[in-house]
């Protein structure tokens, strides 16, 4: 036995294995101890079933409005939903605006290029927090009062309480089936289009892929809308007055100070960065490509949409991924302007229940998960546009 042990110890391979096992087990024990001590002492999660305590109606979706009676975990989930519902729109709007400004900066029109430059240098060089404050407390406060009924009467109002816009409202509790049908129809339509395009490539005959796809999608949308007994209806906003004379918006949807300021600020700020990414990416496409396209008789529009933009997209996407993730993270600043996103909702819980570590752990998880989703989407797009 002793000889065997000495043999194990004297042989370099087996000794290395012994050392590995000992160190590995020791490390695992230490890690387990740390996890145990953290979870047993600090991570008491009983508070999440308690009631949230006060309502928050700054969401744009009535389903995401926090009720006072909601359990705290539901409040936090709705807060995460509010974060997502401002980030998704901010990313979409800032991408369009950024593309427009980035292209404008390369235009042959000197006024357009200068305007683009001023736009980029203004919003890129200001702190996002300052922009938010400016809109929430400067611009918003200067808007007319609600009782002036400023806007298009019966359709759209603007006041220092927010914007009132037409909105869709469910007519029965099974309305959510309709959006699911739309998603399914979109998947089918895309698959059909891809198949038609492939056939077109193989046979050389026009298969009208786009027409088929649009037909399938619109047909399914209309038929299912009727089959589900008109699940949504349009509601128009109005200015109402209570018995004591207080004015409120009734009907439609009210976009409050917090949501509008957060959306506008995030859009302006990130569109400036995206504009620079767009400009840089377009300029990075070799000039020979443009010259070749011109000599083949492409129009300016064709040259841009068929030759330059697809190649610029390859360069753009990794950088855009960064900006989209930053937009997601920076949306947390909106808690200072009364938008009920995840940090604001969580801070109220910390204030009442005091469980800071647990609550903030949830915020970490929300941002790790949402940023990984953004990354996954952008990486998938990246793979699809790269040269194969």
């Amino acid at each position: 036995m002793k000889e065997y042990l000495l043999d194990v110890w004297n042989h370099s391979n087996s000794r290395a294995r012994v050392v590995n096992i000992v160190v590995g087990v020791a490390a695992a024990l230490i890690a387990l101890y740390l996890v145990y001590s953290i979870f047993s002492n600090l991570f008491d999660f009983r508070f999440i079933t308690g009631p949230y305590g006060s309502p928050d109606r700054s969401s744009i979706f009535s389903a995401l409005e926090v009720e006072a009676s909601d359990p705290r975990w539901l409040g936090m989930l709705k807060g995460a939903g509010n974060t997502i519902s401002v980030v998704v729109f901010a990313i979409a709007l800032s991408s369009f605006l950024g593309l427009a400004v980035g292209v404008a900066r390369l235009a042959n029109n000197p006024i357009l290029t200068r305007l683009g430059k001023v736009y980029v240098e203004t919003f890129r060089n200001l702190p996002l927090l300052l922009i938010m404050f400016f809109f929430a407390f400067g611009v918003f406060r200067a808007l007319p009062q609600i009782q002036s009924r400023t806007g298009i009467d019966g359709f759209f109002y603007v006041s220092n309480r927010g914007l009132a816009i037409p909105w869709l409202e469910p007519t029965h509790s099974m309305w959510w089936i309709w959006p699911l049908v739309l998603v399914a129809a979109a998947v089918v339509a895309v698959a059909v289009r891809r198949r038609k395009d492939r056939q077109e490539e193989e046979t050389g005959q026009s298969m009208r892929g786009n027409t088929w796809a649009a037909g399938i999608f619109l047909g399914a949308a209309v038929v299912s809308f009727l089959a589900l007994l008109l699940p949504l209806r349009l509601t128009l906003p109005d200015v109402a007055q209570s018995e004591s004379g207080f004015f409120t918006y009734a009907g439609g949807n009210q976009l409050g100070l917090g949501y509008i300021s957060a959306l506008v600020s995030l859009t302006l700020y990130f569109s400036a960065f995206i504009a620079e990414i767009v400009r840089g990416s377009i300029q990075a496409v070799p000039h020979g490509q443009v010259e070749a396209a011109s000599s083949l008789g492409f129009t300016v529009y064709q040259r841009f949409t068929l030759i330059v933009l697809p190649q610029a997209l390859r360069i753009m996407i990794p950088a855009l991924n960064n900006e989209y993730q930053n937009a997601n993270k920076d949306s947390t600043l909106a808690h200072v302007i009364a938008y009920g996103e995840i940090v604001l909702i969580s801070n109220r819980i910390v204030n009442n229940a005091g469980n800071l570590l647990q609550t903030y752990l949830f915020i970490f998880l929300v941002f790790i998960i949402t940023n990984l989703i953004i990354s996954t989407i952008m990486n998938t797009i990246n793979r699809n546009v790269q040269l194969k």
Binding site: R15, A26, I30, Y33, D56, A338, G354
Partner: protein
């Protein structure tokens, strides 16, 4: 060094790390089990660390020059006077509504005196112990005088501005739900923003603790010429007082009895001006016990507060350097327009709630 040597040294390093971890782990376990006696820590440190508000006139203001003022600040000074006989041996730390309980739990502060409402969940769940209430407050609502509203029950359909993260949010929500009224809420992060929103018509009403609304009503009139009225209803109970960590009863007793002592001093007419005369010649047994002196030639009674770690005459230092309950109130809260007479904060003798158990 050959490969074996490297492996052996790696092993040695890992083993050393393991030892360090285990030792550290054991030590931290010991630290958690043996609960620290805060009174001992304060005496050894040589000063008291007190968590207060930094920007609320009347309650807690930390000035840029390092000085501090306010009712909460006065109770910090009273505690320092009780422990050290010197009201200046106190360090003020700003406690925000978000970090106050973390500061207390992390032992960054010895006592939290920051307009903190005594609630069951804080008492039980956060393991915080409350000393007697020093100020009885409650949420109220203020509207423009021109609105013609005379009661909270007429506020259905209104938009109300509330400071975010305060218990006022819950109080308003509960009150309106109980009375079947609807309202919209605009929550902002500081009073300046709310003020602007109230003036600009972004909200119809402004809700906060009544102690705060009085001050805002005053500055709205003086700075902007705007007339506002505080509606008569009180929506919630907000008893404010000092709080300490649970399982720290020696220190908790000191905090509790310094506050009680200041209340008794007022009942008995002991003030900062006459305390030394009263100590030399106490008019009755109650005053003698309060000031830790004998009555009529007898021996001083030993109440056992602080178990001999603080002098039995601690209330003499408190009253001579800070004053009794009424003196502290007049100097700080009365000065910002919070009238005491007839309010909940009047002495029980006058129909208020300020009452102390006997010191005997």
């Amino acid at each position: 060094m050959n490969r074996h040597g490297r492996l052996v040294s790696l092993f040695a390093v890992m083993a050393a790390l393991l030892v360090v971890f285990v030792v550290a782990a054991c030590e931290s376990d010991d630290g958690e089990d043996a609960r620290e006696n805060t009174l001992d820590v304060i005496i050894e440190r040589g000063n008291l660390i007190c968590g207060v508000k930094a920007d609320t006139p009347g309650f807690g203001v930390l000035n840029p020059d390092g000085s501090a003022e306010g009712n909460d600040v006065d109770y910090c000074r009273a505690l320092a006077a009780a422990v050290f006989g010197d009201a200046s041996k106190v360090e003020f730390k700003e406690a925000t509504s978000a970090n106050r309980f973390e500061l207390l739990a992390a032992k960054e502060i010895d006592v939290l005196i920051r307009t903190t409402t005594w609630t069951a969940s804080r008492d039980a769940d956060l393991e915080v112990a409350y000393a007697p209430t020093t100020f009885y407050d409650g949420a109220g609502i203020m509207v423009h005088a021109g609105s013609g509203v005379g009661s909270v029950n007429e506020l259905g359909g209104s938009t109300i501005c509330i400071l975010d993260g305060t218990s006022t949010q819950g109080a308003v929500s509960d009150y309106f739900a109980e009375n079947g009224l609807t309202y919209s809420e605009l929550t902002l992060q500081d009073n300046a923003a709310i003020r602007g929103a109230f003036i600009g018509g972004q909200c119809d009403a402004w809700s906060s603790d009544k102690s705060q609304l009085g001050g805002h009503q005053f500055t709205l009139k003086s700075d902007d010429g705007i007339d506002a009225v505080v509606l008569p209803e009180t929506l919630s109970k907000e008893p404010l007082g000092p709080s300490v960590r649970d399982y720290d009863s020696e220190w908790e007793d000191v905090v509790r009895w310094v506050v009680n002592g200041m209340i008794i001093a007022e009942e008995q007419g002991v003030t900062s001006a006459n305390v030394s005369a009263m100590a030399a010649n106490p008019p009755n047994n109650t005053v003698a016990r309060l000031l830790g002196v004998g009555f009529d030639g007898g021996a001083p009674s030993n109440l056992g507060i602080g178990h001999g770690k603080i002098p039995g005459t601690f209330m003499q230092s408190v009253i001579s350097q800070v004053g009794n309950y009424g003196e502290a109130y007049d100097a700080t809260l009365e000065a910002v327009g919070l009238t005491r007479a007839g309010s909940l904060n009047d002495s029980y003798v006058n129909g208020g709630l300020i009452y102390s158990p006997p010191m005997r």
